[in-house]
């Protein structure tokens, strides 16, 4: 199982979700994708995406005032 980083800092919503969607096909079952984001709806958007696509949201870590690191397991 590999862990990959996807940096969407400074990218406005809902672009982080679109970036995750593009990245998703390269992930193998069990892999972890850690997404960095700082747009206001970043966490909410990732949660909804995980729920709708059946992925596991492993953790959400605040990283400063706005920026967050969210781990998704495929």
């Amino acid at each position: 199982m590999a862990t990959e980083i996807l940096d969407t800092l400074g990218v406005k919503c809902p672009q982080p979700i679109l970036k995750i969607a593009v990245k998703a096909p390269t992930m193998k079952p069990g892999d972890i994708l850690e997404v960095w984001g700082d747009c206001p709806t970043f966490e909410r958007d990732v949660r909804i995406w995980c729920q709708r696509l059946g992925k596991v949201l492993v953790s959400v870590q605040d990283d400063g005032e706005i920026a967050k690191r969210i781990q998704i397991q495929f």
Binding site: P14, V22, A24, P25, P40, T41, W49, R52
Partner: protein, 726 residues
């Protein structure tokens, strides 16, 4: 530093009440060019007010003084100044409110611009403009929120569709868009996408099933074709018969792998067809294709091991819509075994026909010989007895000797005939043929000096169960035949050997056993053509000029060998010579050494019972036996003989018994005699031999057989043989 003046310079105030002077600097701050502090600020006005209320100014007496006027002006200015200060304070308050409100609006807009339309600000302010601005910001946030929510919904829907389509493209046809969306377009898109995936999945499943069905059909066809004993093919219509498709049977049929033949990779099928059959194959196929009919044909191929095989092929043309031959499809099987069987069957049929013909001739010849021998017996007996009673100087002696000689020739002739016709061996003894052949050769070569005789005998030759006299006759016949084929001399080569014939070959030649003794008699004579060679065993068939051959020698040899369970065949090439080959079944018994009867020691004793239905034979034989010193009791039929033997068995030394008699045949009589005395000595006599009949009686304990006509000498030797070989 510039000199400062004080207000005292203008007002001439000398009072110490001047508050300004109290500052200590001595300079009035309210008058230009004096030392002042903050001309425009509030302190100035306050100071000015203090100045105006300064008591020193009350001392100014004239109203028209410039100072007073100035003071009035100042007062007026102070009033204005006060009013202006109030307004400034109001403006300052407004300015502050606007700054606060704008800051709030700015922060809200900043959040909105960062993508968070959830921000709201309180819509209260002293400044109406700010209130209105805040209201607009909140309205904008609300409106923008809807747009952002929709944008997120689109993004989320797009992401889900992307994921589902990716899974579908990766082969996961179970993937479906599941999320619900308030956006109508996305709902419709979801429905269409799922429907499209379902259709594609169905289509793929159908194709997959069709492909699997096709593969299964192909596998079944391949298995079916592979299990067929022959080769299924599809080939081009050309001279090479280029194979486009061949089944696995190709390997077994041709020795080549399927890929070797496909597209003529290693060899073309046309090259495998026997060169002599190629034109026939081409003509047959062409004729069938012209009529758009199937074709069947038999021809030969040469397989990878250079073995010639017979094949049977059935095929049919495959035509395009415009009638052009596109290919030929068909089936080829190996029929070599069938062809071989047909060939063998033809050979066997020929042999059967030949055997039937020989059998018929044999029966005829046997019948004639029987009657003829009885006649000869009568003549010979009488001549023999006559000769015994006359002196050699008698005028009839030579004539009687001539008659005897000619009767002997006649007897030899019928013996040959009987040799061909008789159905069984008479006196079977286990024999080593090397010795028998050597003896016969020595006897023959003594009289035929012009021939070079050589032998190649196998040491430890297996024994055979044979009638030695008959085999001796066969060998002499073959030697005579060779000698006659070599009028100017030549080589006669006789070989013997042990042979093991496998079951297939044994079946081919109708032989019952696998172990044989082989005899070959080869000459370097004139040889025969094939047609002649086919008829050499027929009785009375001869190529010799009249008087030199009877045509019975080889026929007799044929009959004797056949009756011994063997075969004889001849192979000849004109100008090269002829070779006769005999196969006789080997025996596991030890060879019996022949006891040579001593003619001089013949001691007659006792009585001989002579049984024959022919009166002439009875008379002649009785005289012969009496001549030998025996007492003779005659019986003309079986029952009489039995009765006599029953009564006088102690006196009867030997019985000479005719085989063929009307009331009771020799075999039955023998059995009855044997029932009376187990050790009864019986010699069978016959001018005829039924098929195997004499042999049967011999195996039941009969001591010997004498062929009619017999001479006194023959009779003496046979009686001696029986009496001394007990």
């Amino acid at each position: 530093m510039e000199n400062k003046i004080t207000c005292q310079d203008y007002s001439c105030s000398q009072t110490d009440n001047c508050p300004i002077l109290k500052f200590g600097s001595g300079h009035c701050r309210n008058i230009s060019k004096t030392v002042i502090y903050g001309e425009q600020n509030e302190a100035f006005f306050k100071i000015v007010e203090k100045c105006l209320s300064c008591p020193c100014l009350d001392n100014i007496s004239t109203q028209t003084s410039p100072l007073k006027f100035l003071m009035e002006m100042v007062r007026h200015l102070l009033v204005i100044a006060r009013q202006t200060a109030t307004k400034d304070r109001d403006l300052e308050n407004i300015s502050l409110e606007m700054a606060m409100g704008l800051s709030e609006v700015f922060d809200a807009l900043k959040k909105i611009s960062s993508g968070d339309p959830s921000v709201r600000i309180t819509e209260t302010s002293d400044v109406e403009l700010i209130v209105r601005l805040k209201q607009m910001v909140n309205e904008t946030a609300v409106n923008l929120g809807e747009i952002v929510d929709m944008l997120h919904e689109f993004a989320m829907g797009l992401a889900e569709h992307f994921d589902v389509l990716h899974r579908v493209s990766s082969g996961d046809l179970s993937a479906r868009v599941t999320g619900s969306s308030p956006v109508e377009l996305l709902s419709s898109l979801k429905q269409m996408t799922n429907q499209m995936i379902q259709i594609v999945a169905h289509e793929i499943a159908e194709r997959k099933k069709a492909q699997e069905d096709a593969q299964e059909s192909g596998r079944q066809l391949s298995t079916l074709m592979g299990n067929l004993p022959g080769m299924v093919y599809r080939c081009n219509y050309n001279e090479k018969w280029t194979m486009l498709l061949v089944s696995d049977g190709c390997k077994h049929l041709t020795g080549y792998e399927t890929q070797d033949l496909k597209h003529d990779a290693v060899i073309s099928y046309g090259d495998l067809i026997h060169p002599d059959d190629r034109q026939k194959v081409l003509d047959t196929v062409q004729a069938a294709l012209c009529q758009k009919k199937s074709f069947q044909m038999e021809y030969r191929i040469v397989d990878r091991n250079r073995q010639i095989k017979w094949v049977w092929e059935q095929g049919v043309g495959v035509y395009s819509d415009d009638g052009e031959v596109m290919a030929i499809e068909g089936y080829i099987i190996d029929i070599t075994d069938k062809k071989q069987s047909e060939f063998e069957r033809q050979i066997l049929e020929q042999k059967l026909q030949q055997a039937t013909k020989m059998e018929a001739i044999g029966t005829l010849a046997g019948g004639i010989a029987h009657d003829f021998n009885n006649l000869l017996m009568g003549i010979l007996g009488n001549v023999t007895l006559s000769l015994m009673n006359i002196d050699t100087s008698h005028p009839l002696y030579d004539r009687l000797k001539n008659i005897e000689k000619h009767v002997q020739c006649g007897a030899d002739l019928t013996r040959q005939l009987l040799g061909f016709a008789r159905g069984g061996k008479i006196e079977v003894k286990t024999t080593n043929l090397n010795e028998l052949i050597q003896n016969s050769l020595e006897m023959f070569s003594r009289t035929k000096k012009e021939l070079s005789v050589s032998t190649m005998f196998q040491p430890d030759l297996w024994n055979v169960d044979v009638d030695r006299g008959q085999i001796h006759q066969v060998m002499l016949n073959l030697y005579v035949n060779a000698w006659q084929a070599m009028p100017g001399g030549g080589q006669l080569i006789v070989r013997t050997g042990n042979e093991v014939i496998d079951s297939h070959d044994a079946r081919m030649v109708h032989l019952p056993s696998e172990y044989y003794v082989k005899i070959t008699v080869a000459d370097t004579g004139v040889g025969m053509d094939a047609q002649t060679c086919e008829r050499i065993f027929e009785p009375f068939f001869t190529t010799r000029e009249k008087g030199r051959g009877t045509g019975l020698g080889l026929a007799s040899a044929y009959g004797i060998i056949k009756n011994h369970g063997g075969i004889i065949h001849g192979y000849s090439e004109k100008g090269i010579g002829t070779t006769f080959t005999i196969y006789l079944p080997a025996s596991k018994k030890m060879a019996i050494q022949e006891k040579r009867p001593d003619d001089t020691q013949m001691a007659a004793f006792g009585a001989i019972l002579l049984v024959d239905d022919e009166r002439l034979i009875l008379e002649v034989a009785q005289l012969m036996l009496e001549k030998l010193g025996f007492r003779v009791i005659s019986a003309s039929n079986g029952p009489d003989a039995i009765e006599i033997f029953k009564n006088q068995k102690d006196q009867i030394t030997l019985i000479i018994l005719d085989m063929i008699m009307p009331e009771m045949n020799g075999g039955d009589v023998f059995d009855r005699l044997k029932a009376i005395d187990q050790n009864v000595r019986v010699i069978l006599a016959s001018g005829y031999s039924l098929n195997g009949h004499a042999s049967d009686i011999m195996t039941r304990g009969c001591r010997g057989f004498i062929q009619k006509p017999f001479s006194l000498e023959d009779l003496t030797r046979k009686i001696q043989d029986v009496l001394t070989n007990e």
